[in-house]
Symmetry: C3
Subunit: 321 residues, 3 copies
């Protein structure tokens, strides 16, 4: 498969497709998107392109982020929210459904799905680009990309080179490390840089062995903890995850829920320039009072998600930005 666009990728399926150079290009393109958007509410660079936004698992935030990104670029969006009602469920398989959308003239697909390999299967049968918008427990590459972009933006240094902004940081992940796919995606993506990682969780939902193995293989320096207080002082980036109620049983959920609540008291222990991130939605893991804290970056993450997705759409469709 020859790919002629500048990103050198036909599809965005996994964080494992990215290296430092690709991240640099995405961050620069996202920056440009933000600058253009300041002067222009809507661009025309994707006029006449249609994004098929296929969400086989509900996620308003990611869904609307892709939709608004496409519309800001001048493109059109066809939404397929195929949870209960669509004819994708008339016994049809995913591949036929997506090939039909391509035949209907869709130019690019964003796919959210409950199964780990959904995006890969989609890419195998389509000749248009596929963006993995979250699949199963494994991958959520656009979330990981927007997290890295946010980190780069929040660390205000003079260097324009992203690895110079990231190298040397201590990144702490806290919460449900077993079920949250964003943790895996983000940890693997950050392993491209020289960062220390701290993983904080109750043992029952600690990181899966497969992630541990992947990190060791990449020579990432990481430690595991049960107490957030143990690591909060050295943490440069605190990545809080949502407890995945839908992926665990109730007893487990109640035990975990409330184990780690980031509140004003905890923030007092943290570095004055720590970056506090959360993929949202939150369900109590971060107290509302913390929203006022300038270190709280979670709504800025969403804003950055728009620019990163605009960048990906433009790059994959090879539009000149």
């Amino acid at each position: 498969m020859t790919v002629s666009n500048r990103l050198g990728l036909k599809h965005v399926l996994s964080v494992s497709q990215f290296d430092r150079e690709k991240l640099q290009l995405i961050c620069e393109t996202a920056d440009r998107m933000e600058r253009i958007r300041t002067s222009q509410r809507k661009m025309s660079i994707l006029r006449g392109y249609i994004l098929a936004n296929v969400f086989c698992e509900p996620s308003t935030r990611t869904d609307k982020s892709f939709e608004f990104a496409m519309k800001r670029l001048g493109g059109d969006v066809g939404s397929i929210n195929d949870v209960h009602v669509s004819s994708f469920s008339k016994g049809e398989d995913l591949e036929d459904g997506l090939r039909s959308l391509e035949a209907c003239s869709a130019d690019i697909v964003a796919l959210r799905h409950t199964e780990d390999d959904a995006a890969k299967r989609a890419a195998a049968v389509l000749s248009i680009p596929v963006i993995n918008a979250g699949a199963g427990r494994e991958e959520h590459p656009t979330q990981a990309l927007l997290d890295v972009y946010t980190l780069v933006k929040e660390r205000k240094t003079t260097s324009e080179v992203i690895h110079e902004r990231i190298d040397g940081l201590t990144v702490t992940f806290v919460g449900d490390l077993k079920n949250g796919r964003t943790v895996r995606s983000k940890a693997l993506l950050l392993s491209l840089f020289d960062v220390k990682m701290r993983f904080v969780s109750p043992p029952s939902i600690a990181m899966p062995e497969s992630l541990r193995a992947s990190l060791r293989e990449r020579n990432v320096s990481f430690t595991e903890h049960e107490s957030l207080e143990e690591v909060i002082r050295e943490t440069d980036v605190l990545y809080v995850t949502r407890t995945q109620r839908e992926r665990m049983d109730k007893a487990e959920y109640l035990k975990v829920q409330g184990s780690y609540v980031v509140d004003a008291q905890l923030m007092e222990l943290a570095k004055p320039d720590m970056v506090l991130m959360h993929p949202l939605p939150r369900t109590g893991e971060i107290a509302k009072a913390v929203d006022q804290d300038p270190r709280a970056a979670y709504f800025r993450q969403i804003q950055n998600g728009l620019y990163v997705r605009m960048a990906l759409l433009a790059l994959l469709l090879d539009a000149s930005v």
Copy 2:
């Protein structure tokens, strides 16, 4: 909060925000929208603006009215129909969900919700304008505004000043006066004018004491009745409401349903220039045969709703019309 637009409002949350001058401006702007639309199918004045149309309670009519209004103005629309499937329901609260849409670059929100204070809570956390598209049992301001606009248009007098068209009229409300939020909104808005009000209902779903108190406080001349025949002859505007099946128990519903059916026979008793209004959907309160009667204004209400919502969107976003 400084508001620089001509309407002098940042949000549209409640009918209590309006006075005669604001109503005059809205009616004039809606008139202009209708005139422009005659020559131009689609304007460009809101090009590049995105409306987040958040409907946490289904209402196809109001939903589409906002959507089409935004599209006729050249804007884009992101629909969130958050009844069962959206991630707003992953334990997330309304405020976080809406702040996320704002961070996703939404420029204005129309919010329909089951809770009375939803729109106010939204306005408290957002920096973009919020339009209450119906909340709980209390408020449905855009419906009340389009009702007043319809009344003004249907009363064909030479005066361009709206209070001269409305003052002196007798307005009769009939049906479920307890559960219908449009009655409350409209009665309060009409209390800005010198109108007599008649309220017709079975005692079990008569108007709530709070509305009675509000009308007395504003010195509105009103009476209550059980028989529609008693007041039909003096009525200039007959406002029929839908029996809110979903807000009452079945026995109550069956009793009420069919108590007041507006049919050709009743229309014969009415003034030749009476205005017959209904917010729709109807469930038998107005016989289909009446649709042909030139006094039947309910489908024109919907048309007027488009122009009123176009006017509100343009005014709140301070577009030059």
Copy 3:
């Protein structure tokens, strides 16, 4: 009713409205749509027009085909997926719901519904054009039109006159001939040409007597069979239908399912230029291995569906193409 557009139809409700001339016009217009689309991603000919895409029964494929067709023509789309949540279900009837959409400024309606007469009822109360996007068990005219268009395109002869491409062919329908509305629509439409028809099914889901009667009335030469092998060799066009699981009981379904599977072995018996069609979604009636066969036209059908619907939208709205 005077209709001024070139198609001579106000609405598209039934295949019975079409004759050879109208089919010729539609095929030519669809061809032009494809040619224009090659050079232009998005046209402006329906800019400012709004399609109300009302799907009271789920059908992602048809829904998106209409939506993308409208968007490629520069128009806007308001989607109403009224299965569970819409206020169409607040006891309101279809007619009031559609008249409300018209009053909201919709310019044209595509309607998918569970009831046979839905589209006709819609057309009776609306002054804007209605396109039947599939109703009950009877009619699915746009599917029949795109099937004929596909047949015309797949039979690569020098003649531009469509009946010269179709006359003389043997068309075989196989599968659930009782419940599939596309069979009925397509057979009636093809009866405008000089074709032989073969109907293959188990007796329990053979074609309904009403269709038999209609074909006899039109002097169509047809035969019925239980074995596909019996007719495959003489077949020029094989039209496979989906077993309508939702319209039959489980025992019946299991018996039928798998009776006729088109696989590589069967394709070896078929003519080298046979056209293999299926309206999709398929549920096992055609093996995936057959997708690589150049005779497999089912994804091209979907593509053609886009052009046919673009043609219909443009013709009904009398846009100059």
